[in-house]
């Protein structure tokens, strides 16, 4: 195991000192290393925001696309070449705000991808507006009276959509985050990991200390195959539980596609069978 396999030299990282993103990057790189994945077989897909820059900071193939649009690209990449390991990674605004519709429908599709969401409950790169996960009452230069809308609950939504793997981690616990990411990558099917992290510049409410005090690991006894229990854990309680909430192995999008029914080759290796095309054309000679 080469611990430096994913390392890059001469990095100019655009994150603020002390940002939770550093810990997530460390956890991710360690997870990938321990899983013995190769950078050239890995595709990271991200959107826009500070979290979405993560793929720039380690060795991998990556598609750093548009704000909110990482999931459609990730689904297409996985479907075009199921042999690739595909991980979508972006922030809470990108994923749950701009990309909300894709989030819902990607869960429904259940492609075999991992989805890491850096959740700091604020927009960082645009300098401190509320995000969908900002807490009710959170004051910003825009939400001057405090955030009014209900805070978005990604775990409850994912469980309600019967997502295949639903977990929450906290960037302050690199070991646990790494452990959950590894499970998520190994999981066959869509795997959501919502990762709580402090924004040291724009979120003075949900600080490192706040997360420490307001999170707690799921009990050992938690049964991740019990959907109702998982939903309860995602919606109840004073503290935000950490761990794997819900597991439901089920058929995978790309494996169900008729394109792979008789031929497992990725699309880039395929050439059109012109005899079949001609047969279809010829069928237009009759009724």
């Amino acid at each position: 195991m080469d611990k430096k396999l994913f390392d890059m030299k001469d990095l100019d990282i655009a994150w603020c000192p002390g940002c939770g993103n550093f810990a997530i990057l460390t956890a991710l790189k360690e997870a990938l290393t321990e899983l013995e994945l190769k950078p050239e077989k890995l595709v990271m897909v991200s959107g826009i925001g500070q979290a979405a820059k993560a793929p720039h900071y380690f060795k991998c193939n990556f598609f750093n696309g548009l704000h909110g649009r990482s999931l459609p690209a990730a689904v297409a990449i996985k479907a075009s070449n199921p042999q690739l390991t595909v991980i979508a990674e972006s922030g809470d605004g990108c994923t749950y705000g701009e990309g909300g519709n894709h989030f819902v429908h990607t869960i429904r599709r259940n492609p075999d991808i991992t989805h890491l969401v850096h959740n700091n409950m604020v927009y960082g790169l645009t300098k401190g507006q509320a995000s969908p996960t900002s807490q009710h009452g959170f004051k910003t230069p825009v939400q001057t009276e405090g955030v009014f809308p209900e805070s978005f609950n990604p775990l409850a939504l994912a469980i309600s959509l019967d997502a295949s793997f639903v977990a929450r981690a906290f960037a302050g616990d690199i070991e646990q985050t790494k452990h959950i990411i590894k499970k998520a990558v190994l999981h066959k099917g869509y795997a959501l990991v919502d990762i709580l992290q402090p924004c040291v510049t724009y979120n003075k409410l949900n600080t490192f200390k706040w997360f420490k005090e307001n999170t707690a690991n799921l009990e050992e006894s938690h049964n991740p195959h019990d959907r109702m229990e998982a939903f309860r854990k995602a919606t109840e309680g004073e503290k935000l539980p950490l761990g794997i909430f819900y597991l439901h192995p089920k058929p995978i999008f790309e494996e169900e596609l008729v394109a792979y029914r008789e031929n497992r080759e990725p699309l880039y290796l395929r050439r059109p069978d012109l005899t079949k095309v001609v047969n279809i054309i010829d069928s237009k000679r009759g009724i």
Binding site: E40, V43, F63, A76, V258, P266, V277
Partner: protein
């Protein structure tokens, strides 16, 4: 009594859900199998039941491929049918059917009572009225009864025996009625058949475009349904298993275009197929393709807009939108197939071009082209060789390497030892985000210079008519056949027609074609002469006269003939 011996124009009109399209399908194929040239096109309302929809079927001794206003025989299936078509009904039009169905408001002198519904009821139900009509028209056109019954057997092959038998009976009785009309001299149709064409193909634009796509190696089609382009994805979905391709209904067009770009990144050949409104949602994704130098093939089936517009009708109103969509500056190519055959060939070609230059290539069609059918000899997918332009990467691979040709070899992840890095931010040669302003300038130049590189591949416009002309008629896209037929009818000397299959960038010869004319006449299915604007911008040449139509209907041969005549006299 009118005698039709070259070309007869039949219109069927009824409510949505009455099966007009079934009649169109069976009849056009049966007539072609009998040796007639056929053309059909439909105008339908955006609803599932009711209203008034009509289908034009032209039957001819020569090739036909354009819309005419003229109605020789009208079969009204509903009370609203005659009113719906009143502007196209002339004193020469014969109404075939039952006054109790279509009412008395039209005081035609040449109506012929044909008991379509009575016969249908005798067979068992009113639902067989359509098939009775198929029989009547087949009888009037002297179709071999064996060909007719074979057609029906094939068409209803999946149905229950009783349904099949009743349809056969309905057609047989209708056929006898048609023969009677001929025999007693009420209608006289004697159109030359060409047995050689019975084996030709009949396709609509949607099918031709879809077949062109798969011939061009298209293997990923993410789409969101939208008239009039849904037919492309529908056709491909039905053949997906057999062809080993992937057709996915996306949650929205934003997802669809991002899937297209993701798929190309991973080595697939993907196409987005939508209409103007759907493409509006794709504008951001288009710009992404421009920035990351992704190939993309985008089909826009135009319909009247703004907004929802007239969902099921036709227009050429999105040319400037396709040309200018997407924030920022990046190159693109826009094809506008003039014929169903072109829809096939240009779509196939679009995939090679998009791949070679790593740019978006558009196919701009419209409802009229997509939903019209006619017969023609063949489509040959082997004429254009499939080109794959991606490369196997080495460990030093850089996705945006500056090269002399400005095209950086396109790697794909998992093929080779290199890393393929792509960023919607401005990026360096590796693909990593940069704010180095010198690199920015070089990257913009690199992207834009691809337009110079592809100059040699621009499709020249086609000149129809004499090389020496005084008047040059100009059109693009689906107006190809209608202009040619109108000019043929007009029979004026010194008039030529210049048709564009590629509307951007324009072929350099365009200027000399324009300069050789004393007068230029532009024909477009929109209100603001969008192609005229492109011509003026690209060539500096002003066009003299314009014939524009934007009511949602396609141009008819008569309309163009009339307008050209008024300009030429």
């Amino acid at each position: 009594m009118t005698k039709w011996n070259e070309d007869v124009s039949i219109v069927l009109c009824g409510e949505a859900g009455q099966g007009i399209q079934t009649v169109e399908h069976i009849l056009t194929r049966t007539l072609k199998l009998s040796g007639y040239h056929v053309f059909s096109t439909q105008e339908v309302m955006s609803r599932i039941r009711g209203g008034s929809n009509s289908t034009l079927i032209r039957v001819s001794s020569r090739r036909v491929a354009s819309f005419v206003d003229r109605i020789d025989l009208l079969i009204p299936f509903s009370p609203g049918a005659v009113k719906h078509l009143v502007n196209r009904i002339s004193p020469e039009t014969i109404l075939l059917g039952e006054k109790k169905i279509y009412g008395n408001e039209y005081q035609g002198t040449r109506d012929i009572d044909v008991p379509l519904s009575e016969v249908a009821l005798q067979v068992g139900s009113l639902i067989y009225s359509n098939t009775v009509a198929v029989g009547v028209l087949s009888g009037l056109l002297s179709v071999d009864p064996q060909i007719l019954s074979d057609s029906l057997r094939t068409h209803f092959s999946g149905k229950e025996q009783e349904t099949m038998n009743k349809n056969l009976e309905a057609a047989k009785r209708g056929y006898a009625l048609g023969r009677d009309l001929l025999r007693n001299g009420k209608i006289h149709i004697e159109i030359q058949k060409t047995p050689d064409i019975s084996n030709e193909i009949i396709l609509d634009g949607n099918e031709a475009l879809a077949l062109g796509a798969v011939s061009g190696g298209c293997n990923f089609v993410p789409f969101y349904p939208m008239s009039p382009s849904t037919g492309v994805a529908l056709f491909l979905a039905q053949h997906a298993k057999e062809l080993g391709i992937l057709v996915e209904q996306a949650e929205d067009e934003i997802s669809a275009i991002n899937m297209v770009i993701g798929a190309w990144y991973a080595g697939a050949r993907a196409m987005a197929s939508t209409s103007g409104g759907g493409f509006a949602l794709m504008a951001e994704g288009l710009s992404l393709a421009g920035m990351v130098e992704s190939p993309a093939v985008i089909h826009i089936g135009q319909r009247p807009a703004p907004a929802t517009g007239l969902p099921t009708r036709t227009e050429q109103g999105d040319l400037l939108f396709a040309l200018y969509a997407g924030h920022g500056e990046f190159p693109r190519v826009i094809f506008a197939p003039g014929t169903i055959e072109d829809a096939f060939t240009l779509t196939q070609r679009a995939f090679n071009l998009a791949d070679k230059y790593q740019i978006p290539v558009f196919l701009l069609t419209d409802q009229y082209l997509l939903e019209s059918h006619y017969n023609f000899p063949a489509l040959d997918p082997s004429l254009i060789k499939l080109e794959n332009h991606f490369v196997k990467t080495d460990p030093e691979y850089k996705r945006y390497l500056f090269t002399e040709s400005v095209i950086s070899p396109r790697g794909i992840p998992g093929f080779g030892e290199g890393l393929v890095v792509l960023d919607s931010d401005e990026h360096d040669e590796e693909g990593h985000i940069t704010e180095n302003l010198d690199i920015r300038t070089k990257m913009v130049d690199k992207r834009l210079r691809k337009l110079d590189q592809l100059q040699g591949e621009i499709i020249p416009p086609e000149l129809v008519g004499p090389q020496k002309y005084e008047t040059l008629v100009i059109a693009w896209g689906s107006n190809y056949h209608v202009v040619i037929e109108a000019m043929h009818k007009l029979g004026k000397e010194g008039v030529a027609f210049l048709h564009f299959n590629q509307v951007y960038p324009l072929h350099p010869e365009t200027v000399s074609y324009l300069q050789r004319a004393q007068t230029t006449v532009l024909i477009e299915n929109n209100a603001t002469a969008q192609f005229g604007q492109v011509i003026e911008l690209q060539t500096g040449c002003k066009l003299d006269k314009k014939i524009l139509k934007y009511n949602g209907a396609p141009f008819s041969v008569e309309e163009i003939e009339r307008s050209l005549k008024s300009f030429l006299n």
